[in-house]
């Protein structure tokens, strides 16, 4: 939603608040803090060697990123991602990634196109070798390039939000099966549609790419990991 601008990112890595924010975000996404765990200002502050002030401000940001939830006068809790949330996000992303690919077809620069081709080439390589971390990283980057290429700050920012939001889930699935190869093949098709200037096709392929990613996730145990969260959430009505 923000008029995102890397140059003046308020989550400045040189400010304490920015560092706390990034550290906490990473820790939540990596699962260091479990769902519904309470985050206490003083504890976090002491752990990072800062006072409560920057911690509190980081909390406010984390809340609007959807990673924690702040209950006034009570505390901050790591948000649970329900199976339904994941489904909703992929429904939304299916449409928006499609829009993004369509726009990118008109707007993509030569440099971005080249990085995209390189990305796919590299992903093939690491897929052969079974380098799971690199595959995940390249997958992230592929979508990032697409977001940048669509030339819409708002769409870019929105998609990044959702993308980051599902990282907690995705991390566990992309690495556990053969989806990596299929995913990269779909990336290639999207890339070629964009290269050929076929915006409609690029949109359609990107739509389907998300649907496939979600279907695969469901097949490979999303239920086990996140299926029960819904009920837990109900405890706070």
């Amino acid at each position: 939603m923000t008029n995102y601008d890397k140059k003046y990112d308020a989550n400045d890595k040189y400010s304490l608040r920015g560092r706390v924010f990034q550290k906490l975000r990473e820790d939540i996404l990596n699962g260091k803090y479990k769902e519904h765990e309470e985050l206490k200002e003083v504890a976090i502050g002491e752990e990072l060697g800062v006072s409560r002030t920057p911690v509190r401000e980081a909390f406010r940001q984390l809340e609007l990123e959807g990673l924690i939830r702040i209950v006034p006068n009570k505390g901050a809790y790591v948000t649970g991602i329900t199976a339904k949330d994941v489904k909703d996000i992929y429904m939304i992303r299916s449409l928006l990634e499609g829009l993004c690919a369509r726009l990118a077809t008109e707007k993509i620069t030569k440099e971005q196109m080249e990085e995209m081709e390189e990305n796919i080439y590299l992903a093939d390589f690491h897929e052969e070798k079974g380098h799971l971390d690199q595959i995940a990283e390249l997958d992230n980057r592929f979508h990032d390039i697409l977001y940048e290429a669509c030339d819409s700050k708002l769409l870019e920012h929105t998609l990044r939000d959702f993308h980051r939001y599902v990282l907690r889930v995705r991390k566990k699935t992309l690495a556990t099966n053969t989806r990596g190869r299929a995913s990269n093949e779909e990336h290639r098709q999207i890339m070629e549609a964009i290269k050929a200037g076929d915006a409609k096709l690029a949109e359609k392929l990107a739509n389907q790419h998300m649907i496939n990613a979600y279907d695969n996730m469901v097949k490979n145990g999303l239920k086990e990991v996140y299926g029960e969260t819904t009920e837990e959430n109900n405890k706070d009505k």
Copy 2:
């Protein structure tokens, strides 16, 4: 993005931070603070009779709502909405309002359906009388009902964000011409499609509703008001 929950809204109207946040949001949307205007912590604090602390926290929230932009060690500035931003938002909303209408077709409750019918009936009435404020209010409410009815916290929250974001612009257009009547007629068609259980049609109509709203906006002087903002934005590269 947040797991939005009215009951424990962190923008608590009883906390100072919450009051500052809501006041500033309103003032920005109403145009009290112009685009690119700098908001100073002490000035705002004095005006509202609070210290800098709650003001700072409100700033962090406003930034993630996209209403201001914080430059580290420099200041907080009201974000400019460029003509392109508006265009992008309506493109995105076209897809998402469509998705929302499609989902609502399956999920809408009896009460929500009734309020929707009442909404359209009332809007007709006020349209006849030329009550512009009520028309705008009912238009907002129609979309809110739809957001609630789709039964997706994430989609609801995302759409609300975008909707609020364009309020600054929309306020100036809905009131100035005959779009009110056409808009309400489109609402009626969407409502009837949902009532008839035709999800595909509801989606299509909601898509088109957004496109029409945008086209109308362009025809009626969006350029004059927001067309030049793009260049101004470039001053901070």
